[in-house]
C-alpha cells in the first residue's frame, strides 16, 4: 500500500524528521486560506499516488494567497497518469540551497534494510543509480541491532555533507530507519532532504510504501488508504480475499495460485491472446469465492471469453465446479467460458460441468487455445 506525500511526511515528522509547515486542501479556497495562515510563499503540490508530478505540472509555486488559490484551481481536477487530483498539499516554500537523497528499502538479497544517501537529491534515485552510481552511499542495517550512529555518519561523510550538518543528518537518518521499521514499510524516502535558507535540514518531499502483509497490525496506517490507489474492482476483490489486477486484454482469467495465474497469462499471450486480468482466487477457495471472482471478471466489458484454470490441492475441483455453475445460473453470462481443472475431486468437478454443458479441457495449453479461439469468435 502507498501513502501520499502528506501522509508520509506526517509519519516521518512523528519520528522527529523536520518537515515544512503545511496543510492539505481539497478546494482552491482552502488552499488560499492555508497560504494566508502560513503567511509566506507556498508550494502547491498535487497528492496523487504516481511519480512525475512535477513534470506533469502538478507542483507549482505561489507567492501570494491569490496565486495559491489560482494554481490550486489549475491543479485540482487535473489528470496525472490517469489519476484525478483530489487534494493538494500547500507547504511553506523552502529556499533550497542544496538537495540530498535519503532512503530506506528492504534489500531482499541482503535480507536487511538498506539505507541509501546521495548528494544528488531531487531526482529519481534510479536515475542516479544508472548515471552516477558512485554517488550513492549505502549501509545495511542488521535487523537485530538496528541502525547504529556510525552507519548514519558513514552516509553523512560519504556524501561529503558539510560538517555543521552531520549531527542533524545522523538524527534524521536514524529517525527514518525507526519510522521504516515501526511502520512496516518496504520503502521510505526523503527526496529531497534540503539544506534550506535558514541553513537547516528539512524533508521537502517524502514517500512511504507499506508491506501489505503487516497492515493487520498497522491499523492507523491502513486506515490512510486512498481508495483511488486501486480500481474499484481491485478494491472489491481485495475485500473478498481475491488477488486481482486489471489488465487490458480480452480473456478473463480465474486461477488458483499466483505463479500459476502469471503462467496462465503468459501462455495466453504465447497462443496469440491477451489477458484481461490477473486473478488468484487463493488456496482452498470454495463456491462463494468462485462466484465472486466470476462476477468481478464479467463486469469488465472488454472480456470476450473466460478461462478458468484450477489445479486442485487444497482447492477442490467439485466445489469450484459448483461455484461456476451457480455463477452462470445467477449472472446471465454471455461470453464463452472454458474450464480446465485437474487435481483433487477432478472427476466429480468435470461431471458437474458436463451436466451443465460447459466445455472443459485436461491440458492447460489445450484450454488456453480454446479460450483464445473463443475470444476471437471462432467458437468451439
Amino acid at each position: 500500500m502507498k501513502l501520499h506525500e502528506y501522509q508520509s511526511k506526517q509519519v516521518l515528522a512523528q519520528y522527529g524528521v523536520p518537515i515544512p509547515n503545511g496543510e492539505v486542501a481539497a478546494t482552491p479556497a482552502e488552499a488560499r486560506a492555508i497560504a494566508e495562515r502560513l503567511g509566506s510563499p507556498v508550494v502547491v503540490k498535487s497528492q496523487v499516488l504516481v511519480g512525475g508530478r512535477g513534470k506533469a505540472g502538478g507542483i507549482k509555486l505561489a507567492g501570494t494567497p491569490d496565486e495559491a488559490e489560482e494554481v490550486a484551481a489549475q491543479i485540482l481536477g487535473m489528470d496525472i497518469k490517469g489519476l484525478t487530483v483530489k487534494k493538494v498539499l500547500v507547504d511553506e516554500a523552502a529556499d533550497i540551497r542544496s538537495e540530498i537523497y535519503l532512503g530506506a528499502v528492504l534489500d531482499r538479497s541482503a535480507r536487511k534494510v538498506a539505507i541509501m544517501a546521495s548528494s544528488e537529491g531531487g531526482v529519481e534515485i534510479e536515475e542516479v543509480a544508472a548515471q552516477t552510481p558512485e554517488k550513492i552511499i549505502t549501509v545495511h542495517v542488521h535487523p537485530l541491532l538496528g541502525m547504529q550512529g556510525y552507519q548514519a555518519r558513514q552516509l553523512a561523510y560519504g556524501i561529503s555533507l558539510p560538517k555543521e550538518h552531520v549531527s542533524a543528518f545522523t538524527r534524521i537518518a536514524q529517525s527514518l530507519y525507526r519510522a521504516f521499521v515501526e511502520s512496516d514499510a518496504s520503502l521510505a524516502e526523503i527526496n529531497p532532504l534540503v539544506i534550506n535558507g535558514d541553513n537547516q535540514l528539512q524533508a521537502v518531499d517524502g514517500k512511504i510504501l507499506l508491506d501489505d502483509s503487516a497492515l493487520p497490525r498497522q491499523k492507523q496506517l491502513a486506515a490512510m488508504r486512498d481508495p483511488d490507489e486501486d480500481s474499484p474492482t481491485e478494491t472489491e476483490a481485495r475485500e473478498v480475499g481475491i488477488s486481482y489486477i486489471d489488465l487490458d486484454g480480452e480473456i478473463g482469467c480465474m486461477v488458483n495460485g499466483a505463479g500459476l495465474a502469471m503462467a496462465t497469462m503468459d501462455i495466453i499471450k504465447l497462443y496469440g491472446g491477451s489477458p484481461a486480468n490477473f486473478l488468484d482466487i487463493g488456496g482452498g477457495a470454495g463456491a462463494d469465492k468462485v462466484l465472486a471472482a466470476l462476477r468481478i471478471i464479467l463486469r469488465d466489458a472488454r472480456v470476450k471469453a473466460v478461462l478458468i484454470n484450477i489445479f486442485g490441492g487444497i482447492t477442490r475441483c467439485d466445489e469450484v465446479a459448483n461455484g461456476i455453475v451457480e455463477a452462470i445460473n445467477s449472472l446471465n453470462v454471455k461470453v464463452p467460458i472454458v474450464v480446465r481443472m485437474v487435481g483433487v475431486n477432478e472427476d466429480e468437478g468435470r461431471q458437474i460441468l458436463a451436466d451443465s454443458n460447459l466445455p472443459s479441457a485436461n491440458q492447460l495449453s489445450e484450454a488456453v487455445q480454446m479460450a483464445v479461439a473463443a475470444a476471437k469468435g471462432e467458437g468451439e
Partner: protein, 289 residues
Amino acid sequence: MSILVDSGTRLLVQGITGSQGAFHAQQMIQYGTNVVAGAVPGRGGQWAVGNTPVFDTVHEAVATTDANTSIIFVPAAFAVDALLEAADAGVELIVCITENIPALDMARARAYLDSTESLLIGPNCPGLISPGSTKVGIMAGHIHTPGNVGIVSRSGTLTYEVIYALTARGIGQSTAVGIGGDPIKGLNFLDVLQMFEQDSATEQVVLIGEIGGTDEQVAAEYIRTEMSKPVTAFIAGQTAPPGKRMGHAGAIISGGEGTAAEKIEALQEAGVAIARHPEEIAELAAQNI
C-alpha cells in the same frame, strides 16, 4: 535417495489441532510420512489425528519423540514465534506454510536462524516431497511419481502443473521443493541447487522461477560455473506489467530489476533450457534422459 526429507524424517506438526494442520497432518500420514508429534500451546497431553501425541512446547515434543523436522500451520501473527521455537529446540529442518508474515519479521527471524543449525523452507510455501517416501507439505501426493528429476520452485500450484506434466510423461521426481514466494525466506534456489548437485538420485533439475528479485540470476551464476547436471527452467510473469503486485509479495518488478526477460537471459547464458509453458518443461526434461 533424495534431499532434505526421506524415511528418516520424524515430523512434528506445529498447529496440528487447527483445521489446516489437522487436514494436512492426516494427508501426510496417509502418504507415508512419519508424523511423530504435534505442538499446540494449551493442548499438551491430548491426541490428534488418530494417535499423534500433542505437546505444549516444541522442546517437549523434540525431547520425547526425537522429531527432527517441523511443519508450521499457525496463523501469520504467531508463525515467527513458532519457527523460532522450533529452531531453539534444535529442529533440523523447519517448513513454514503460513503466508502473509510481515517481511521485517522474517528479516529478524532469518538473522537469528542463521546463527543456529536449523534450515528453513518458506514461509508462504507448499513444502516439499520426496515422492514415494515422504511428504512434508500441502501438495496433492498422487500427482507425483518417484524418479530422478529434482524440482525447485517459488510457486505452489504452478509446481503441481509442472509435476503433473512430468508424471504424465512418465518422468519421476527425486524431491520437489517449494521454497515459497516471499521476499525474505529460508532456503533459496542456490541452496537447493547445491543439494541436488550433490544428491546421487538426482540426474537433472527443473527450476521454476517468477518475476521479482534476483535469486534466479544468482542461481544462473551457480549453474554456469559449478553445476554439472542439466537444468530446465520456466519463469512466470513474462506478461506482468511493471510495479503491480501479483499475489506473491516477491513478485514485484521495480526499477528494471527482476523482470522475466532478465532472468531468462541469465539462465540461457548459463546453458539452461527455457520452457515457454509448463507442459514444455516435460518435453525438455525428456530430452535429458
